[in-house]
């Protein structure tokens, strides 16, 4: 043990005298630190936005409740904030939160259009992506590892020291083993320390931090072993570096892009815009259709309100909300297909990660951080559940089965964010 520590101590001191190694380590620390900092800032901004919206949402709803007295107007003018709060690991893996929306203000109107409205809004912004910690580890850290390890042996060969070093060392493990371990520990520390600081700031749980550490260290070890193995096999440092960089480009960029193209090519479904259009066209067409057409379609799914009678020639809230409901019903199949296709793409992407360690790491950590597509699907489902609960609360008032009393508004359902470990109830009313 003492012998091993002595070897490691020597190589640690030796490493601290190598300027290019120190520069690489500093770069890796700064890049990781920057990613963690921007991740924390982004998460803080999302949390602030949610808090700000919660206050505004409660205020707006109170104003609407003060202004209107009938359930139809109240349902129409009251917005309800839904949101998916970032988890306390989201700072490290922002995941799909820049692709899928994490906040919606919904009304009692047809829902599918409200959910997919944002599909056509943020697509271009999502293209740029974000440099988060998991991106640094999965995509950039291999480059630091390659630069640190590809010539560990080759540089000694090219400078003529190799034979003297090997013939002097007590054993080859004392030399290459301790040199490799020291560099690995150094680069892992430089990359992970910013993450640990971020985890402390955002109160990430110990187990989660441990799991992220295990995944990251295993991933970095994969690139280190690959670099050392190739460095041992080949003599020329530029050749080793070229092969490793080719592997890096292939695994971190080419394979993910190809698999993405292949998955999108093989799995087809309606787009969010199509769902939005179908639902809106159904709602708009309903104005010109006979009332009975809408009411029959509504009663087919809500037989308890089948005996609701349309109130005269003019506008009627019951009819209005019935055709909103029918609009959602018209787009249900498309919406189900869309979600099934998204789930299938997610499953297929899981198979693709078996070919690409960088993708695998991203997927695992995004899952831990609850920022992946699954989390987005869960949030969408939460909105649907909430919207359904809201409809079920209003429908008895709207379709005349229950007398409306404004005091009953306090018993309206509240949105509950169930997309991560902190289940918070929005209850500002």
């Amino acid at each position: 043990m003492t012998y091993l520590l002595k070897q490691l101590g020597r190589e640690w001191r030796f490493m601290l005298r190598q300027r290019y190694v120190l520069i690489l380590l500093l770069c890796s620390f700064l890049v990781s630190g920057f990613a963690v900092f921007t991740g924390l800032a982004e998460v803080a901004q999302q949390q602030q936005t949610i808090e700000r919206l919660k206050l505004a949402d409660a205020k707006d709803r109170l104003e609407a409740q003060a202004k209107y007295n009938d359930p139809g107007s109240l349902a129409y003018y009251s917005f309800h904030l839904t949101y998916s709060e970032p988890s306390n690991l989201a700072f490290a893996a922002l995941g799909e939160r820049d692709v899928y929306p994490w906040k919606h203000r919904v009304r009692m109107l047809a829902l599918e259009g409200q959910i997919y409205e944002s599909d056509s809004q943020n697509a271009e912004l999502a293209q740029a992506g974000k440099i988060d910690f998991v991106f640094v580890i999965s995509a950039l850290a291999p480059l630091f590892i390659i630069l640190l390890f590809h010539d560990l042996i080759a540089s000694e060969r090219s400078s003529g020291r190799h034979d003297l070093l090997v013939s002097t060392a007590k054993s080859k493990y004392a030399l290459w083993g301790s040199r490799g371990i020291v560099r690995f520990v150094a680069v892992v520390l430089c990359l992970m320390v910013p993450f640990y600081l971020g985890a402390m700031i955002s109160s990430t749980g110990f187990l989660t931090t441990l799991l992220v550490s295990i995944w990251c260290i295993a991933y970095l070890a994969f690139w280190t072993v690959l670099s050392l193995w190739l460095g041992k096999k080949l003599a020329s440092a530029p050749r080793i570096a070229s092969i490793l960089i080719a592997c890096w480009v292939l695994l971190a960029f080419v394979l993910p892009i190809l698999s993405d193209l292949l998955i999108n090519h093989s799995v087809h479904s309606a787009k969010g815009g199509d769902i939005l259009l179908t639902q809106r066209e159904t709602v708009n067409d309903a104005w010109d259709l006979p009332v009975s057409t809408t009411m029959d379609a509504f009663a087919a799914t809500h037989p308890q309100y089948a005996d609701y009678s349309y109130q005269g020639e003019g506008f009627d809230w019951g009819w209005y909300y019935a055709f909103q409901q029918v609009g959602d019903q018209a787009s249900t199949d498309m919406s189900n297909d869309y979600r099934a296709a998204a789930a299938k793409k997610y499953t297929l992407a899981g198979y693709a990660t078996l070919l690409s360690p960088p993708l695998l790491l991203q997927r695992k950590i995004n899952r831990l951080a609850n920022t992946d597509a699954l989390a987005a699907f869960e949030y969408e489902q939460d909105i649907r559940d909430f919207h359904k609960a809201l409809r079920m609360a209003y429908y008895p008032w709207l379709f005349g089965q229950k007398k409306f009393d404004k005091t009953q508004l306090t018993s309206l359902p509240q949105f509950e964010d169930s997309t991560h470990n902190y289940k918070k109830v929005q209850n500002e009313q």
Binding site: G160, R161, D163, L164, V166, T168, A169, K170, L175
Partner: protein, 244 residues
């Protein structure tokens, strides 16, 4: 299989070494006794460095065996490397470290602990000027770097020295000092195998010279009692190579 032999400090028996299917050493046999200075003399491409690399275990012989301190090289590499001090032709130590730091680093690799005084004595013994001891090696001349590497070899206190063109880069005075040092080491019982193309230098210091040509040992020359090997004789044999 018995891999132990105890007769000689270094022994090569019918050694054949091929590198990338090209025969480099052919049927090479020689022995170096305890306390003997053996010079393996040859021109460029004769196989001198390959011989040293094979003795250090870097090349695998296609046939034949090599023994160091009685042990077959490939059966006990760590043992062999503890018993030998190797001085490469171009002693490229770490340029960003001082002579002191270089020597300390390499000694630590070998798990050898030496005091500051012992390091100072080694530097003095190889005539490395004191003002340079703590300077980075990138400020050194080739000869000073060579002296640093020689100091390192001395500090290893190994019983066997393998020297690859050891006087390369040294000035005449330093060569004389080096030869004196080698003779002192031999008289204290160390066995020394040096490979060189310097006929004069080899004759000055060696007890025995083996002439290597195209990977084969084509002649051996012994120093007479209390005398030196005849330079002209060796030079004539060496020059034959040019004529071939």
């Amino acid at each position: 299989m018995n891999n132990k032999k105890t007769q000689f400090a270094i022994e090569a028996n019918s050694l054949h070494v091929d590198i990338k299917n090209a025969p480099i050493l052919r049927n090479l046999s020689f022995q170096v006794a305890e306390g003997e200075i053996y010079a393996l003399l040859g021109g460029n491409g004769a196989g001198k460095s390959t011989t040293l690399k094979t003795l250090l275990g870097f090349n695998q012989p296609s046939s034949g065996k090599v023994f160091i301190a009685g042990q077959e090289v490939y059966s006990a590499l760590d043992f062999i490397r503890r018993k030998t001090a190797y001085l490469p032709e171009s002693a490229t130590l770490y340029p960003h470290l001082s002579a002191y730091e270089n020597v300390q680093y390499f000694l630590s690799l070998a798990d050898i602990k030496k005091s500051e005084d012992e390091l100072n004595q080694a530097f003095q013994r190889v005539s490395l000027q004191e003002s340079a001891w703590h300077r980075q090696l990138q400020t050194y001349s080739k000869g000073m770097r060579q002296k640093t590497a020689i100091a390192l070899a001395l500090l290893r206190e190994a019983p066997i020295f393998l020297l690859d063109e050891p006087t390369s880069g040294l000035d005449p005075v330093a060569i004389d000092e080096f030869n004196q040092l080698v003779r002192e080491l031999a008289s204290s019982g160390a066995s020394i195998l040096m490979v060189t193309h310097d006929v004069y230098g080899a004759c000055q210091v060696a007890d025995r010279i083996g002439l290597l040509r195209n990977g084969e040992l084509v002649g051996e020359y012994d120093a007479p009692e209390n005398g030196r090997i005849d330079t002209e004789q060796v030079h004539a044999a060496f020059a034959q190579r040019k004529a071939l």
